[in-house]
């Protein structure tokens, strides 16, 4: 559905304006509503005043590294019996765990509910496990989480934490056509889940402006296959090139705001081309606090323990267990279809006067409550960067390298025009 169709009155008003037939004030308001994607519409061009981010090496206060748990066919939401225990899987969300958390929880809890349990167990307390536990409680179930770590010490807390629901979520061939529908269902539900958390104390979920900077006109990224690369993922379970990854964002175009090219007069950055878009992200400390608070207020129990064999699920007193163990499922459930894609982030001192995100060359910076998160994502490698790499120790060198690239950008920023 195109956005214009949502506002038939506005289209009518615009036509009347073209005929010179409507009151100016009303038309101004309505046409601003539909024409919002053109930055130059409305008042005179104005360069937004943005505070430069401090990107000197001394500002780097933390490094985090984590492994995205990718499955070629997409997340495992299947079921299996361990003795008389029903296990519903909910793991393997690649780089989309945060983004799909509410929708994926809904699917897993729905399956658990079909045997009418009064209590269930959730194994794992990353973003998938904890969200699943809360969703199950909201459906009326008594929930015990069994986990070796609480969310703050899990891989979820070492993620980037922005709304990227199709980031390394599956490879298109093994996922098949059907996964797109399920992905869309989970994504739309998650979107509503995040919407319900906007504006809560501590800003667990935030929208902010994101700027993509370039020296040459930006070009739409294509994912064409390189004919020189023979074969595909089947051989070793790993994708061999960028074109094998699945992309579904076109399915939710109606939700996600469009990017806008800034006219020179409105461009605060010392580069020729700046595109502004809106991004949504998650502030881990506050988000975790909200979910844990709800979990405990609803009477949830947390039992600290580790598992090393699936048979142990059958020994739990709960006869329905949702398995939300992320990358750990590769070993625990001997699921060798899970492959690692390494990612790492550097964290700069939080700067609340600079609430925006920025991408330039391989550098990506995003201001969050708990710091400005820096990534070095080589553009040429796309989704292939980190594939097969399970080294989970951080390496500051690539982060410092992109901070150096961004330093002159920050030094050259312009104030109000």
């Amino acid at each position: 559905m195109s956005r214009q169709n949502w506002y038939p009155q506005a289209n009518l008003a615009r036509r009347e304006m073209l005929r010179g037939g409507a009151a100016l004030g009303a038309v101004g308001a309505l046409s601003a509503c539909t024409a919002g994607k053109v930055a130059s519409a409305g008042p005179a061009p104005r360069r937004p005043y943005l505070t430069p981010m401090r990107v000197t090496p001394d500002q780097l206060i933390d490094m985090k590294c984590c492994i995205r748990p990718v499955r070629a066919a997409g997340p495992n939401l299947g079921t299996q019996m361990i003795g008389d225990t029903l296990v519903v899987h909910n793991y393997g969300h690649g780089g989309s765990g945060w983004s799909l958390s509410w929708g994926s929880a809904e699917v897993a809890v729905g399956k658990a509910l079909s045997v009418l349990p009064s209590e269930i167990a959730v194994v794992g307390c990353g973003i998938i496990g904890l969200t699943t536990a809360v969703v199950a409680q909201r459906a009326g179930l008594k929930v015990t989480i069994y986990t070796r770590d609480v969310i703050q010490r899990t891989r979820s807390f070492r993620a980037h934490g922005s709304f990227t629901p199709d980031s390394r979520v599956a490879l298109s061939a093994p996922a098949g056509a059907g996964f797109g529908d399920l992905w869309e269902q989970m994504t739309r539900l998650s979107w509503k889940g995040f919407r319900s958390m906007l504006g809560l104390p501590g800003d667990p979920v935030v929208f902010q402006d994101a700027y993509a900077l370039s020296d040459a006109p930006p070009v739409k990224k294509h994912h064409d296959a390189d004919p020189a690369i023979k074969g595909a993922w089947e051989a070793g379970g790993l994708p061999l090139q960028d074109s094998e990854w699945a992309h579904y964002m076109d399915r939710i175009k109606d939700l996600v705001p469009d990017p806008v090219m800034l006219p020179t007069a409105e461009n605060p950055f010392p580069v020729a081309y700046t595109r502004r878009s809106s991004e949504m992200h998650f502030n881990f400390p506050s988000y975790a606090h909200h979910l844990l608070t709800e979990f405990y207020q609803r009477g949830g129990l947390m039992v600290m323990r580790d598992f090393n064999d699936p048979s142990q699920y059958g020994q739990l007193k709960e006869k329905v267990v949702i398995n939300a163990t992320g990358y750990a499922a590769r070993d625990l459930w001997r699921d060798k279809t899970v492959f690692p894609v390494r990612g790492q982030t550097g964290w700069l001192v939080p700067q609340h006067d600079a609430p925006y995100s920025l991408r330039y060359k391989n550098a990506s910076l995003m201001a969050k409550n708990d710091g400005i998160v820096v990534m070095n994502n080589p553009i040429d490698l796309g989704e292939m960067f980190g594939v097969g790499d399970s080294m989970e120790l951080p390496d500051p060198a690539p982060i410092l390298e992109v901070m150096k690239i961004v330093e002159p950008i920050m030094a050259g920023m312009k104030g109000i025009a």
Binding site: E106, V109, G110, S114, V115, A139, Q185, R188
Partner: protein, 139 residues
């Protein structure tokens, strides 16, 4: 005393219409469910979604649906559909379509089809309980 009478009356009612058949035993036919799918596509999918997946606001007719309706009778579900659905025009489902929809809903929630169609007789529907799924049947 009044309480005892009530219990006795309840026992007599149960004896008259024994709740002994559950949906685990195959209480509808595939043909009925297929007809129900067509009714669903026309009358229900616009709100509940093509796959009955629901939205944040509209209930899914799978998953939590079972928690809401499990252990109720098929008659209760059928009556509800007849009374309250579709929400924009309640009471407009043809009785035959209503039965087909119930069959379709049972099917998409994992209850097996059987040789006999769902009865049209209300008392017979009252005798059919919506069973929880067997754990091994959850897909």
């Amino acid at each position: 005393m009044a309480g005892l009478k009530w219990v006795l009356a309840g026992a007599l009612t149960l004896a008259a219409v024994p709740v002994n058949a559950g949906t685990a035993n195959g209480v509808y036919t595939e043909a009925q469910a297929a007809e129900g799918a067509a009714v669903f596509a026309e009358r229900c999918a616009m709100c509940h979604g093509k796959q009955a997946e629901g939205t944040w606001e509209v209930p899914a007719l799978k998953g939590k649906f079972m928690a809401n309706w499990g252990r109720e009778t098929v008659a209760a579900l059928s009556d509800y559909l007849a009374r309250a659905m579709p929400q924009f025009a309640p009471g407009t489902l043809e009785p035959k379509d209503n039965g087909r929809l119930v069959a379709y809903l049972l099917k998409i929630n994992g209850h097996p089809a059987g040789a006999k169609p769902l009865p049209e007789d209300h008392a017979a529907l009252t005798a059919i309980r919506i069973d929880p799924l067997a754990a091994a049947a959850v897909k």
